[in-house]
Symmetry: C2
Amino acid sequence: MTVRDRLLAAAAELIAEKGWGAVSTRVLAERAGVGSGVVHYHFDSTQAVLVQASVGALREALSGLPALLESAADPESALDALLAALDEAGGQELFIETFLAATRNDELRAAVAGVLTEFRAALAVWLAERGVPTPAETAAVLAAAVDGVLLHRALDPELSRAVVVPVLARVLR
Amino acid sequence: MTVRDRLLAAAAELIAEKGWGAVSTRVLAERAGVGSGVVHYHFDSTQAVLVQASVGALREALSGLPALLESAADPESALDALLAALDEAGGQELFIETFLAATRNDELRAAVAGVLTEFRAALAVWLAERGVPTPAETAAVLAAAVDGVLLHRALDPELSRAVVVPVLARVLR
DNA sequence: GATCGTACTGGACGATCGTCCAAACCCGGC
DNA sequence: GCCGGGTTTGGACGATCGTCCAGTACGATC
C-alpha cells in the first residue's frame, strides 16, 4: 500500500475513533507511520485528506449494494444484508461523522449528496420492482432510517439486526 | 438570564453550528458575551459545559413528548408532531452531535442512554395501547429512524415531514 | 560515479487551544 | 465611607494546531 493510501486508511480510522474535528495532521501521520510533513506533500490540506477518505469509504461501502440487493431472496434478507455490509465497512461512526461534516463543507456536501442520490435511485428501482408503494420516498426514508440505526447502535448494542430488521421490513409492505 | 445559562445556551448553539469538537473556550465565552475566564468559574471544564448543555437540550426536547403523543388523534399525526417538535428544538445537528459525542464520553453516554430509555419506554406504552406488534422493538427502531431522518434532512431539505410521515407510519401497522 | 527528480523527514512559524490566576469589579451590611 | 465575598476580567502558561520549507534519502538516467 502506498503512503498516500495509508494516509487515507488512517484518516478513515481516526474519523470514526475520535471524531471529524479531532483528527490532526500529526496523529494522522503517526497512525500512517510516516513523518508529519508528508500529509501536505500528497494533499492540499488536512481537511482534504478527511474529505477524500470519507467519500472513498462511502463509495466503496455502497458500490456493492446493487448486486447485494439483487441476490437477496426476500425484502427482509435484503435489509439484513444491507445492515451487515454497513457494519463491516469501517465502523458505524464514520458515516455519521461524514454526514455531519457534510453539513458544514460544501465540497463534501456535494460529494455525499451524489453518492446518496445514486444509492437511493438504485434502491427505489428495486422497491418498485417488488411493488412497494411510493418507491422513491420509501427509499429516502429507508436510507435515513438505516443511518439512524447505525447511530443508535453505537450507543445501544442491543439494537441488533435481529431486532431492527423485522420492524423496518414493515415499511416494505 | 444568568451568565451560567447564557453559557449553556451558547454551547447548544455552537455544537449545532460548528460541531462538538470545534467549540472552544473562547468562542463559547464570546457568543455568551462574557470574558473567557468565566467558563472555568462556573464549570469544571469546557467539555462539562458541552455535556450539560446537550443533555439539558435533549431532556427539554423530550419532556413534552408524552403529552404530545396522548393528544394526537392518529399515529400519523403523532409522528408528524414528533418530527415538528424535534425540528423546533435547536436544530437537527445538536442531537446527532450529542449522540456521536456520547460514544466517546462515558458520562455523556450514561446521561443520553437514560433519557433515551425513558423516551422509548413511553413510546412503547403508547404503541402497545394501539395494538402495534412488538412495541418495545418498534419504539427503539422508530426512535433511531427519526434521528436518521434528522441527519439526512440536514443534507437534503426535500426530505420533508410530508414525505417521511406516510412511509414511517407503515411500521405502526 | 555524477546528476537529477521524486518521496519523505523533522523542525520552525504564528495562531489557537484548555486551564489557571492575580487583579478589578459590583453590591449589600456595617 | 469602607469593607468583604461572590463574580468577572484579561492575560500568562505550556501544549498542540495547520502549514510551510530546507534538507536528506534513494532509485533511475546518463
